[in-house]
């Protein structure tokens, strides 16, 4: 007994008081001082994996990198053409292999240090270093000596010393950087405009590494240690909650950046993001909208869906019979009714895909490929040696493999049903949780496996490399030397028209061989306040945060008139309550 003399009522009371105190203490601990709402708040999904621009891959991470950092070039949001960023100009040598960049004289880091060519050299080498573990290191292998530097082996597989001096990146002068490519690459500037090819501040990184040899990665990205060169800088990070950014006054173009603060929220659930948007807590929600909500959003002024350079497809394991027969793969590809999947399941304007590469990337026009025809599909099935009517000649049951998700299941069910109806195939669904799914896919433990591929930049090469022999993203067992040769030739080709022609021929092979069955091309799905100006709408769904601003009433009504001319349905009222009130307050400031 602890308190033998206390009455039972007193004991009960003391227990209740203790519990209440505990609760109050914890609540006080957990509820942190809440800072006022930022000028602009958005979410791109869950927590960003890292703020290290050389270690990240995802779309949400890319958005954060664009707030914090600035590369040599960026893409103009409307046209996706490269334009000067930290470099004010560049020249390309007549042989198309040497790029010389002249940095801006007024480009500075957030701590005031000047941004110099050496920063880029250091950063590109860091990106290439296998210790950095960048998934995009291979994108920079266009540079002479870069591949050897990452892999430690030369083209013939002989081990070589990893020497930074052998990588053809040189700082010629304080603000002059030279990159020499292995072969001319017309899309090099497109690659460089990506979020991974930005500089990091060497002095602050080295200081943190020296002080914390084990935990440098976790110290470096803290607001007090992180030095960046982009339009915004990090001021606060709350894990699984939000990142707060403030305008970087050292940024050379800070005078033209309208927003003073930006919040990036980490929100896992789309419907919660929608609720927060409707309540005015978020100004932009970017992400895959649950298909059940699409019909409600599709007519709204603040819902923007545009073609997106991304493709949804099924990988075909060509090492397993009956998928080793091209005719069988063709039967599957031609018997799929893609418009049913787009219209019944997805409903957000996605386009049926008859080519792997989406329409309109660069000036690439996909070749004429297969069409949809159940009769043709049946003919192909027979050509592969099967006959659904004959029990002995019926193909074995197939397995359609996808990662656990409602929309993938819906699509798989429709596809399985179509294949059953058209070809009499017995298609079974097999879903796996994401990591097990990826593991099975890379071990080629599947028949047909769902996949998607999103363009990194606005050039068709971003869709072609993965199907070359031995590429780690091939994951189908497919290999075709003609295809490899065409892609290798396109890599070296300097003439745009001839290069596109090579890609076209490569895609013809790909879509004849069909190691992948394209299903649809994605659309972007942005829910964004119409009052947000400077919001880009392009096929990479790429934003330039420097351009964002809040429209006043006049600007809003002009924007609406212009959009009406484009033939969009525009309601006469604002999309959500409180919008105008807040806008007015904004104007008054």
């Amino acid at each position: 007994m602890l308190f033998p003399h206390a009455s039972s009522g007193a004991r009960l009371l003391s227990a209740a008081v203790l519990l209440a105190l505990l609760g109050a203490g914890l609540a006080a601990l957990a509820l942190r001082s809440s800072s006022p709402r930022a000028d602009f708040a958005f979410t791109g999904g869950g927590e960003v994996r890292s703020l290290d621009p050389h270690a990240v891959t995802g779309v949400p991470e890319g958005r954060v990198v664009r707030l914090l950092y600035e590369g040599l070039v960026r893409r103009r949001p409307e046209t996706l053409e490269p334009e000067p960023a930290a470099a004010k100009s560049w020249t390309v040598s007549p042989d198309g292999r040497t790029y010389t960049f002249e940095l801006r004289d007024d480009a500075r880091w957030s701590n005031g240090d000047p941004l110099v060519a050496e920063d880029f050299r250091f950063s590109f080498l860091r990106l290439l270093d296998p210790q950095t573990a960048s998934e995009y290191a291979s994108a920079l292998w266009l540079v002479e000596g870069a591949r050897e530097y990452t892999l430690g082996v030369d083209a013939k597989g002989v081990e070589v010393e990893r020497d930074p001096a052998r990588v053809a990146i040189r700082s010629l002068e304080e603000r002059k950087l030279e990159l020499r490519l292995e072969a001319p690459a017309t899309h090099f500037l497109q690659v460089l405009a990506g979020p991974n090819f930005v500089p990091v501040h060497r002095a602050s990184l080295d200081a943190v590494r020296a002080a914390h040899p084990e935990a440098w990665a976790t110290r470096w990205s803290r607001p007090e240690n992180l030095v960046t060169n982009g339009p915004f800088r990090l001021v606060e990070r709350r894990i699984q909650e939000r990142l707060r950014f403030e305008r970087n006054e050292s940024y050379w173009g800070a005078r033209d950046v309208a927003l003073r603060t930006v919040d990036v929220y980490s929100i896992e659930s789309w419907s919660s993001a929608l609720n927060l948007y409707l309540a005015g807590e978020l100004d932009w929600v970017d992400g895959a909208i649950p298909t059940s909500l699409v019909p409600e959003l599709i007519g709204r002024e603040d819902f923007q869906n545009r073609p997106y350079f991304a493709v949804y497809f099924y990988r075909v394991n060509v090492t397993r019979p009956p998928f080793d027969k091209r005719e069988f793969r063709a039967a599957l590809a031609t018997s799929l009714q893609r418009s049913e999947i787009c219209e019944v399941v997805l409903k957000a304007g996605q386009k049926p895909a008859f080519s792997f590469v989406p329409l309109g990337i660069g000036s690439y026009v996909p070749p004429k490929t297969f069409g949809e025809s159940p009769e043709y599909a049946r003919k192909m099935l027979e050509a592969a040696g099967f006959d659904p009517k004959d029990k002995a000649k019926r193909p074995r049951p197939l397995e359609l493999h996808f990662n656990t998700s409602e929309v993938h299941r819906d699509i798989a069910e429709v596809a399985a049903d179509q294949w059953r109806k058209a070809l009499g195939l017995d298609v079974r669904l097999r879903n796996q949780e994401w990591k097990s799914f990826l593991d099975a896919q890379s071990r080629l433990d599947y028949d047909l496996s769902r996949s998607s591929w999103i363009a990194d930049y606005a050039d068709p090469s971003t869709f072609f490399e993965i199907w070359t022999t031995g590429n780690e993203n091939n994951r189908t067992g497919w290999s075709n030397s003609n295809y490899d040769d065409l892609i290798a030739a396109a890599r070296r080709e300097r003439d745009t028209a001839r290069r596109l022609e090579l890609f076209k021929r490569a895609e013809q092979i790909l879509m004849y061989e069909l190691p992948c069955i394209p299903v649809y091309h994605y659309t972007t799905q942005n829910l964004v306040d119409p009052r947000v100006g400077g919001f880009a709408s392009n096929e990479l769904n790429e934003q330039d945060p420097r351009l964002w601003f809040w429209r006043n009433d006049e600007e809003l009504s002009n924007a609406r008139t212009n959009r009406e001319l484009e033939g969009r349905r525009v309601p006469s009222h604002g999309p959500r309550a409180g919008l105008h009130a807040r806008g007015a307050a904004e104007d008054a400031k």
Partner: protein, 326 residues
Amino acid sequence: MMRFLARRALWFALTVWGVVTLSFLLMRAVPGGPFSSERKLHPTIEAAVEARYHLDWPMWKQYLQTIGPLNLDEHGAFGDGRDIFGGILALDLGPSLQLRDVTVNEIVAQSLPVSAALGAVALAWALGLGIAGGLVSALKPGTRLDRAARLLSTAGLSLPNFVVASLLVLLFAVTIPLFPVAGWGAPKHLVLPGFALGAPFAAYVARLTRAGLLETLSQDYVRTARAKGVPHWRIVLRHALPGALVPVLSFLGPAAAGILTGSLVIERIFCIPGAGSHFVTGALNRDYALAMGVTLVYTVALYVLNTLVDIAYALIDPRVELDGEA
């Protein structure tokens, strides 16, 4: 009392060791690694990352590194000695493999108080509403009030908490904007999620209170008190209720466990940066360090809570002797 605590401490150490070993083995037994993604890494690069997190070490060495207290890598006790300690015994849960900028210690330090605050509010709702509801039911058994309270508690028990949460958001955040739809930072953010999380437990507490009170009210000592002319409210609150609450108290242990581990869904719906979502994403992303860290923290929290409940048990019921426990 001291013997009780000593025995508990011993069992605590054994439990934690068991949980750690089991999660270590289970995490590595499932297919897929922490660095697999749709865009696959080049094998050379993948090997370099795995080496950074010591995933290239033999299993026994990784296990020893996880347990601690000595750091075994090149900066550790047998290396250049710049970072001698590490592992669970050194209270160092290591860097997260998925969220590369943060350590698991930082994640736990940021998210655990949040989950605890949410859990405390949920528990407060559960006890407050549950006991009040049970009291009302037991005092007027068979009346409409009783039936209404019992209907509500059945509803509370049978509705999953995400349904309750969605209804609450619809009612009290969207239709009548009393509370924020989601988010974290102010006390007002705690009300709806706390209620949604606590609702099923409130329902159960109400049932326990009602049953317990009906039983104690029919006991001889209550009749004696009545015969002595003790006022009705005093009989209920001082004589009957404490005895009736013993089952509620013993339910607090499981309830705390349920609230802690069940907070995941509520945290997602209300965008609360608590530990629940790390528990799940850690496992899903094969973030060995994070999954291990959160599992460990949950184990410790549940063990401590259960021990506290046992102590409270003795506080409220003089017949319970802690040291006499078999």
